[in-house]
Symmetry: C2
């Protein structure tokens, strides 16, 4: 995030951060419930909530009386979703996909633009034009949009707003937050795409209400965001959640990382397509066509998807056996073919999850087009808060 750009975070104290985050993600909630769940006094909740009520970020719902004679009526606090809007953009190798979301991360509108190339200057100009297009779509949005999240595949230094390394884009040490902020006038935060998606899922999706949550994404790469103790793991050396490089077969195919039998070498879309091309002799075969072949009864191509599903399932089970999340979600554009994967993923999980770890619910679902951009918007929403520790 560009450090000198206003607006400042709304919530600057630990109590204010905790109250706003809990109402945002789990509200509406009464002050009494907030106090109980956060382990602070009702007076501290009231004090922390007051500026957000004054600024219109929170509002009180109509009074409720839980039972006749139950004392003073309760007015739960709720977020005002359209108090502010946030832009989220995912940068891929060939296009940028953008959304405008409200404070509940609900998408108001979306747009995308092709990228003629991946040069930082090209991406910057395209991002700036995309932002204009998004804000032009609805007069309400322009005056209320001050923050933007950008999601990029690779190693991202969120604090400095720099993409340290993105093999997909061919980038090394590209300052993105600064120039995008200058071009758009918005507060810009840059994050790794899988981490951004994990934030969205943790705050607004299946991860709400738990501190121990894992999201696995399946597609061009196979990635994973791990939240434990409420903290997104980032790794002492900047590497964590690399579920795609868990080895499930030491004599398996060689991965782009150089090792053998990585999940990505078996189950990433390119790995499946590459093997399907070899099997069929059709050089131009696409992933969608490979999936159609599998569905229409080619046992060899079908076996490729089964093998991929098993590899994904084994890697997920490694996460569950090692870390013990409360819930796990498997998603991604690769799961457009999830009918071909799901049985094997679940079977590997059922067979290999150790003891009570198997109780962790496994949700498998495809990822709609704009979800990655919504993940970026969720990271933008986080700039409402003081930067989290560590």
């Amino acid at each position: 995030m560009s450090p000198n750009r206003s607006p400042q975070p709304l919530a600057a104290t630990p109590a204010a951060t905790a109250v706003l985050a809990m109402v945002l993600t789990e509200g509406p909630l009464s002050r009494v419930d907030l106090a109980r769940r956060l382990g602070i006094s009702s007076a501290a909740v009231t004090k922390a909530a007051r500026p957000f009520l004054d600024d219109g970020y929170l509002h009180e719902l109509d009074s409720e009386r839980t039972a006749p004679g139950a004392g003073r009526p309760v007015s739960p606090l709720a977020i005002t979703p359209d108090r502010e809007f946030v832009i989220g953009v995912k940068v891929t190798a060939d296009e940028v996909i953008g959304v405008v979301a409200d404070l509940k991360a609900r998408i108001r509108n979306s747009a995308h633009r092709q990228l003629p190339d991946c040069e930082p200057a090209t991406v910057l100009a395209t991002l700036a034009a995309l932002v204009e297009e998004l804000l032009d779509a609805d007069p309400e949005l322009r005056g209320k949009t001050r923050r933007m999240g950008v999601a990029v595949s690779g190693d991202v230094d969120r604090v400095r707003g720099v993409v340290r390394l993105s093999p997909l884009l061919g980038w090394q040490d590209v300052d993105l937050a600064g120039p995008v902020g200058d071009a758009t006038g918005l507060v810009v935060v840059v994050e790794n795409d899988v981490k951004a998606l994990t934030v969205a899922e943790h705050w607004f999706g299946d991860g709400v209400g738990t501190d121990d949550f894992t999201l696995v994404t399946v597609g061009a790469g196979i990635g994973c965001g791990i939240v434990t103790g409420g903290r997104l793991l980032s790794g002492a050396y900047g590497v964590a959640g690399e579920v795609g490089h868990v080895c499930v077969d030491a004599s398996g195919p060689v991965c782009h990382c150089g090792a053998r039998g990585c999940v990505e070498a078996i189950a990433a879309t390119e790995a499946i397509v590459g093997r399907a091309r070899l099997l069929t002799g059709r050089d131009g075969l696409t992933f969608t066509e490979a999936a159609e072949l599998a569905r229409s009864g080619s046992p060899e191509v079908c076996a490729l998807f089964s093998e991929a599903g098993t590899a994904i399932g084994l890697a997920i089970t490694a996460v569950v056996n090692l870390i013990g999340p409360e819930r796990i979600v498997v998603s991604g554009e690769g799961l457009d073919a999830y009918d071909l994967f799901e049985t094997e993923i679940r079977q590997a999980y059922a067979t290999h999850a150790f003891g009570a770890a198997a109780r962790c619910p496994l949700t498998i679902r495809p990822l709609p087009f704009e979800e990655w951009a919504r993940g970026a918007a969720a990271v933008g929403i986080q700039t409402l808060f003081a930067p989290a520790r560590g």
Copy 2:
């Protein structure tokens, strides 16, 4: 821990806990250094340290002047290791191993007793006799020993002091802390053995000074304690660190858990011995004899150890790629044969660690006889502190 037994924890406030823990694990440290590293004021450090100085748990080292004219002399705070002693006991299927340790977890003396059987009553009586033997060895110890940690393989409810399930001992829902406390008059805490060893390593071994640390143990089982963000992972369903049940070969041998290709099915001592017996036709072959055969040039038996080392290395790499610890230690009685494992462990790690994750230093070393009991003592030392959050 038995909740109604004195003594109470010494450190009851967050500041007192933080100061005592940091001096204990990383001291001697000056008040100024403590304040800086803990992010609290020097006045708060002084206030928190005062009762520990009064009670003799801490002492001031001789004044040091860092440079001439550098102002008021600095008197670093240090733990007084022999202010109190703590007993640690590891319960195995055929013996109990005990140590008395000082507050730096240095072993003062040790003893062990055979177990005729694993019945809880037998174990209780043997533990009580072992404690007497340990305390009788040195008159200084009896008056200064009030706490005890017990380490058991299996699923342990530390808060209740109950062993929920220990397949090795054939135990289910055995209350251990209560009866052992009654029999010995000590404050008793019970913990899973691998977790206890991880605490010892984190507080007094190679894990000192980092919040992100992993210990892998290799032996009858293959286990793992994972500390991330300073917190020992315990899993939302009570399962975490099960590195022994990471699948590294879906077509590998069947594990006792029912799945195929678990690391334990390839690299646990029993797995190696079982396969060596089949190869050699020697039914009574021991692990030590198998290791000797490998060293004396039997290529088939040597290959078993190599395969085990590779499996362990792949599982360690899964931990590193997923969690990204700052340091990792591999230890255990199985590593008495670590000359036969080490090359393959390191090779699998070098090949499969993803990118910068490979920078995580990997320490491989055998585990001396009393280390498990010392782990239990370290957990006993933790009862000096208020119970950690969840």
